[in-house]
Subunit: 217 residues, 2 copies
DNA sequence: GGCGTATGCTTACGCTGTAAGTAGAGGAGA
DNA sequence: TCTCCTCTACTTACAGCGTAAGCATACGCC
């Protein structure tokens, strides 16, 4: 009986991330993942304690791609680059933010959090006190994950194929223009193309950072 | 055989929302909902075409609680009050934003969107062009839903019981302080209590609106 | 009174995550 | 070399899910 190359956690997580990227979060089941690895479902439990653990694992893998900001830069630039790096890392794997929101298991690992630690450090260095840093961090994270989720999740899913449309404006496909005049003008504009989610996010981030400057005390 | 008071869509949605509030999104299954209504699961399909349709329905019900802003106010105030109203409506039903992100079905109804229409109108009136309004709307929505999701979802779920802790900072329960010095300082601060998610959100919203003013051209 | 239609129930299918038990291969110690 | 221990993977099984198909009942209208 031919001995198979043994599994390990890394291979499982790699395959899980690939499968999720390809088929969406719904397509990622233990059985399908096992099949993709040429293995039975229960074998995965030797390397992953749970499905939640599996999702944690792929989230951590994506977090690890986030680059910490250069501590020499002013705090505004550090916040901007850290936030953008998070945004880009998760944009490459659109289902992962949904996994983060959906699952509810272990505390996130130290490794995943280290870029955020640098970000908090930048805020402290920029003159924020504890509450200010807490709020600024929450605001930035909310904007990053909110942008990701609104441009990826159910909101926009039904029109994702339209011209790269994104965000909440996009999830209306037919409407009575008289009932929602401004909204339908906006929607018509988006259908002219030229919507770029990352550029939109950058704009929003710029605005937020500008506003945070006033609160830095 | 005693004739039962007949079901209707409204009753189904009411019960679904109540069940979801009470048991979380995972606790909301067709079978359990049916049992709560004293009915068999398949009977629900006479009033709801899908589980996704069910989730849409409860989301719409929450959207309907959002109050449109006073069109006499300056656009900044309109944005602020509309965003806050959305935040509060969804905060009362914490699982609904997750349902919105998770499901992927019909376009959202006109009724649900009318407060957003007013918001877009305020942006146009404030001097934003199409792209500016699009971006501002996306930024505000991202912040609202990001705040809701981070303070409710998997991120914070494992520590939700700690002192109302919220947002990304909260999902670390034990860590090596040396590895994440700034983060653990911040975390220690949050455990002193006094974290108020809505106040934090308001601060973030103020910052964002301040930043958007610069972009209003 | 009879009939069409709407409502709800029953059964069934294929899917899910995962608990429990079993088989076999690799390495360690005698 | 033989034996035993551990680790990996497989098999089976269970309870739950969403929902398709078919059947029974009760109401409103002719």
């Amino acid at each position: 009986m031919a001995r198979r190359e043994p599994l390990n956690r890394e291979k499982v997580l790699d395959a899980a991330l690939a499968l999720a990227d390809e088929e969406g979060l719904d397509g990622l089941s233990m059985r399908r993942l096992a099949k993709a690895l040429g293995v039975e479902a229960m074998s995965l439990y030797n390397h992953v304690s749970n499905k939640a653990d599996l999702l944690d694992g792929i989230a951590e893998r994506v977090f690890a791609q986030v680059e910490p900001p250069d501590p020499e830069l002013p705090w505004q630039e550090q916040v901007r680059s850290a936030a953008l790096s998070m945004y880009r890392a998760f944009r490459r794997h659109p289902v992962v933010p949904m996994a983060l929101v959906t699952d509810r298991s272990n505390p996130t690992s130290v490794r995943a959090l280290s870029p955020l630690d640098a970000l908090v450090g930048a805020l402290y260095a920029g003159g924020f006190d504890d509450q200010g840093a807490w709020r600024a961090l929450g605001a930035v994270n909310s904007l990053v994950f909110g942008s990701l989720l609104l441009s990826t999740g159910g909101f926009a899913a039904d029109v994702r194929e339209h011209a790269g449309a994104t965000n909440v404006g996009a999830y209306v496909t037919q409407m009575n223009p008289a009932a929602l005049p401004h909204f339908s003008r906006l929607l018509r504009w988006t259908q002219g193309g030229g919507v770029d989610p990352e550029a939109d996010f950058r704009h929003a981030l710029d605005a937020l950072i500008k506003g945070l400057e006033n609160q830095a005390s």
